[in-house]
Symmetry: C2
Subunit: 209 residues, 2 copies
């Protein structure tokens, strides 16, 4: 999978605590069938072995559907399962260090909450940015929010793809029309939905429109 051909339309961040299905594998497969175009595996509170085993299983699914798998935070897990890339926040390993460890071919995504973080991330070699939180959410209650004005500033300052994150759902996605963003990053709007496939389909369709 070439990293400059990634479709960022509907970018799912997993969250075990929120999923409506019994297994993460099932949730991810349904999300992809519905139209999620990127999967970011996010695991906290587990051992490295568990993270690794989960990542291997999820990677089998994403490979089957030719959808990129991005590992949250843990570059070693990404390397261990030969994932498509890694996503780091501002309190993870610095993006430039991640790039030096993971090499040029893998995707490096970086969370940015303001213009200066966004610019720095691109300088450090980020392939895309996750900008947010756009809204306060239950998933990350301590998240700083980004205004539409700030998002505009970031969009005009950087060339890499931007996905917005934080409170993105069918009600809020219309607010991003004309903002020039490349995709919607979702957590609960898809993974907590009673019908994950339908939720993904609706959001991907609404965004493409």
């Amino acid at each position: 999978m070439k990293k400059n051909e990634i479709d960022y339309t509907l970018y799912l961040c997993t969250d075990r605590e929120l999923m409506s299905t019994e297994t993460l594998e099932e949730a991810v497969e349904r999300a992809i069938k519905g139209g999620c175009t990127v999967i970011q595996l996010r695991e906290k509170n587990c051992t490295s072995q568990e993270f690794y085993e989960t990542a291997k299983r999820i990677h089998e699914i994403t490979k089957r559907f030719n959808v990129p798998l991005i590992i949250n935070d843990r570059v070693d897990i990404a390397l261990a399962v030969d994932a498509d890339g890694v996503h780091v926040g501002q309190s993870d390993l610095p993006a430039a260090v991640v790039r030096s460890i993971i090499g040029g071919d893998k995707i490096v995504g970086v969370s940015a909450t303001n213009l200066s973080e966004a610019k720095q991330a691109v300088l450090d070699g980020a392939d895309y940015l996750g900008v947010g939180a756009m809204y306060q959410t239950d998933t990350k209650t301590d998240a700083q929010t980004v205004t539409m004005e700030e998002l505009k500033g970031i969009r005009s300052a950087v060339d890499v793809p931007i996905v917005v994150i934080g409170g993105i759902n069918q009600k809020t996605l219309d607010n991003f029309k004309g903002m020039g963003i490349d995709g919607l990053a979702v957590v609960s709007a898809v993974i907590a939905a009673d019908n994950i496939e339908q939720a993904a389909q609706d959001m991907a369709a609404a965004f493409r429109e």
Copy 2:
């Protein structure tokens, strides 16, 4: 530092919660001055960024004294700071995977609680084994203990250096005389001592005797 020339005599695992000094840097420097020959940096409950920043600072110290720095669990942190190696337990990344990520020149250490884990670790490319817990400790209250008989079995089955861990202190170290082990892995016996330097010096001297 060539990995087959490592002196495993007194192998310190750090533990922020137990240290008698104000900073980890101070504890590590004193431990090395006293005679610790290997430092394993173990950080739980912190962000990847904090682990990375700490590892960089500790690595400056270990390099100054030409003592190897081993990172616990996190292969990415080891790569990020170019540490001398990584140590994995049975619930971390599999040793064979660690070896494939980190390359042949770095030290890979593996915790083993029995003969079969010890043999497997060596097959998977371990450069040394941490065998234990030899005694119940406050540091790891859920640790399985290894009997002296089991330690003997492991010693005769594998050729790599063995350090014993778990309840190793000035009272217990005499029990390992004639066991053919290569070093003592300590946590609280050194890092929680009022005089870290003296504690390290006494233990290293007693072991060499």
